[in-house]
């Protein structure tokens, strides 16, 4: 792939905070590249450096073989879709879209032709004479994109373009964005804090934290093989374990001992070069676990643990279980519902269950920071747990069970009548 845009050891400091710290990255021609991270991670600063609204304290920005570090924004062949769209409120939509060409000194007839072409692309021909205050958020979004694309930028910068829209519209616009990308073939640099948007749109993602790039890769790479505890916890959800390598079985697998809890040794895939006695951090995504009441009959590549279901959170397409594997160590497990939920074998509170997972699905982290544990979802706290005595727990439990079993009964009646 051809190198198109390069950030070369770029650093930007605001007062005492390092917004961007020694970032080097390369973007290819025609790809959708996302900068993903929590607010304040430096992703927007990086975009503003590229647009020319900020200038780096050190480092270079090279676009299409040309050093653009010192160029003002109006001389860069880069255009931005702003987070709040920044449409000019006193101009009609037509004049908004044509603004850039007007500034470039193009003839009026020529501008009109180009604007009409853009309006057709975003399917808003009939609203050209309205003002930005008279259209909806999704339409503003489209105008902002058209206004930037009419300049035929070498790279289009999108600064959280969907953040202001509601969920359904966000999904539709993200689809529209990728269609527009396919149509114009321009390189997109997309800044977002929404992992779902980044994963669904991007060819590649750079996950940023504290002004640095934590990991750069395809959506599958950053999700399935995160290099650090931050990436693992920020994208999706996960369970973290500290462990010591007991023995290296072969080049693929090691046997490890989990620290801080009495458990049998576990089989773990060797992501990294490890030796006997090494301390490792590894992480397993909640959906990689399977859960069953009976002891599963699986190959020796699976790890099997026993635990008790502490909490069940039903979320429609999936259910989140919190399983206590002993010493109050709770593991997050999600189970997709491939069938009508109540037709599946019901799992109840306080059921003794087996949880098992393929050793290949756990992965070792290169970098680990304990504060990233705060990013993963916490097990729900039982309110008044300390006040409620042991003896009061029993009726409470039976109550829950009876509610669930009654719903099951009801549904069974329902399904039989349907049948």
């Amino acid at each position: 792939m051809k190198e198109f845009l390069r950030f070369d050891h770029v650093t930007k400091i605001f007062g005492t905070t390092r917004a961007v710290h020694d970032v080097s990255l390369t973007i290819h021609q025609g790809e959708i590249f996302s900068l993903l991270g929590p607010s304040g991670c430096g992703k927007t600063t990086l975009l503003r450096l590229l647009a020319g609204f900020e200038s780096p304290d050190s480092g270079k920005i090279i676009l299409n073989g040309k050093d653009i570090t010192a160029l003002p924004p109006n001389q860069r062949k880069v255009n931005t879709v702003f987070q709040n769209y920044a449409l000019f409120p006193h101009m009609s939509l037509r004049d908004n879209i044509g603004f850039g060409l007007k500034m470039a000194g193009r003839k009026k007839a020529e501008i009109n032709v180009e604007v009409d072409r853009m309006l057709a692309m975003i399917q808003m021909e009939d609203q050209a004479d309205r003002k930005p205050t008279q259209i909806s958020g999704g339409q503003k979004q489209r105008i902002a994109i058209a206004r930037a694309l009419i300049m035929r930028p070498q790279i289009l910068l999108l600064d959280e373009p969907l953040a202001a829209l509601d969920l359904k519209l966000r999904q539709r616009m993200s689809l529209e964005l990728s269609l527009i990308h396919d149509e114009v073939g321009i390189t997109f640099l997309y800044v977002t804090h929404d992992q779902g948007e980044a994963m669904s749109l991007s060819d590649r993602i750079a996950v940023m934290n504290n002004g640095e790039i934590e990991q750069l890769g395809t959506p599958i790479e950053v999700y399935e093989a995160p290099s650090s505890s931050f990436v693992a916890a920020f994208i999706g959800d996960t369970n973290f374990f500290d462990a010591r390598v007991l023995e290296v079985l072969n080049k693929d697998y090691s046997r490890v001992k989990i620290m801080g809890i009495k458990l049998p040794p576990l089989l773990c895939y060797n992501d990294k070069q490890t030796k006997r006695g090494d301390m490792i951090h590894f992480s397993i995504r909640p959906e990689k676990f399977q859960i069953s009441i009976n002891r599963p009959q699986v190959s020796s590549k699976y790890n099997i643990l026993q635990g008790t279901i502490e909490d069940i959170i039903y979320q429609g397409d999936h259910t989140r279980y919190w399983v206590n594997i002993g010493e109050d160590w709770k593991i997050a497990i999600t189970r997709q519902h491939t069938r009508f939920m109540l037709d599946e074998k019901a799992l109840n509170w306080n059921d003794k269950v087996y949880i098992y997972w393929l050793a290949d699905d756990g992965y070792m982290l290169e970098h680990y920071s304990a504060k990233d544990e705060d990013l993963v979802e916490e097990p729900p706290q039982v309110i008044g747990e300390e006040i409620t005595g042991k003896d009061q727990e029993e009726p409470c439990k039976s109550n829950k069970e009876s509610v669930l079993s009654s719903t099951i009964k009801k549904s069974q009646n329902g399904s039989s009548s349907n049948g």
Partner: protein, 297 residues
Amino acid sequence: MAKKHIFSKKRIFGEFSLSFPSMLWLIIFFLIPTLIIFAIAFKPADPLGGIGSGWTFQTILALKNPNYPQIIWRTIWMSCVTTFFTLALAIPIAYHIARIPPGRRDFILLLTIVPFWTSFLIRIFAWKAVLHPEGLLKHALVYCHLISPETLLLYRPEAVLLVMIYTELPFAILPLYAAAEKFDFSLLEAALDLGASRLRAFFNVYIPGIWNGLLSACLMVFIPSIGSYVIPDVVGGTDSMMLGNIIAQRIFVERNLPHASALSTILILAMLIPLLFFLKGKKNKVGRIKKSTRGIE
């Protein structure tokens, strides 16, 4: 439909009852006195300085004084020049105040208002001291060979303009700042991003963005300027007399109230014309906003 009608009637009454006290105030202390001044212009003058009985067109005809067109023209011209320079100074100042961090912004705004803590008259006499032939400024300029010792800084139209601009500046900065503070500065970035130069972004995006504030500032400067009396009286000479000075002369020197009333009526008309333009400009804006909200519904 019927229900809506009752509601709107009720609402109109509500709005009227709320604005009634201020309407009453304006009618008693503004509208009626203005009409009285207008009426006096059609009364004969009393030789003792009072107002005679009966009605006459004599005073209106007496306005054909050959000196008047020049003075009226000068008054309007000086007010326009003052408005222009005051805005030219106030627009960048308001822009910068709106862009600095909020903590320091309050301090700068305070500095803008501080001159009001001193009497208007004292500030003008202070300028007189500064511009005086024996004043510090004159000596400094002569010392630097920028002016000859014979040049007079005081008692000329330029001195009047300088002091008027100085006096009106805060009145322009405050409405312009209020508009600039509400302005979305990312629009300027968007304009730069689309290839506009800083100057074009300023005139094509910033100025339309603060348009209402600009109109208010124009009126806030133009109206007091056109009626100024003290400033030309203190720092101006005979060639910088304005309408306000002539009115004062008619009252204090000639004791001819009808004549002064006729001149005042001209002054009021001169203020009314830009005010009507302003209202028209604003009205359009309001109409547009109403239409746009309807569009969203």
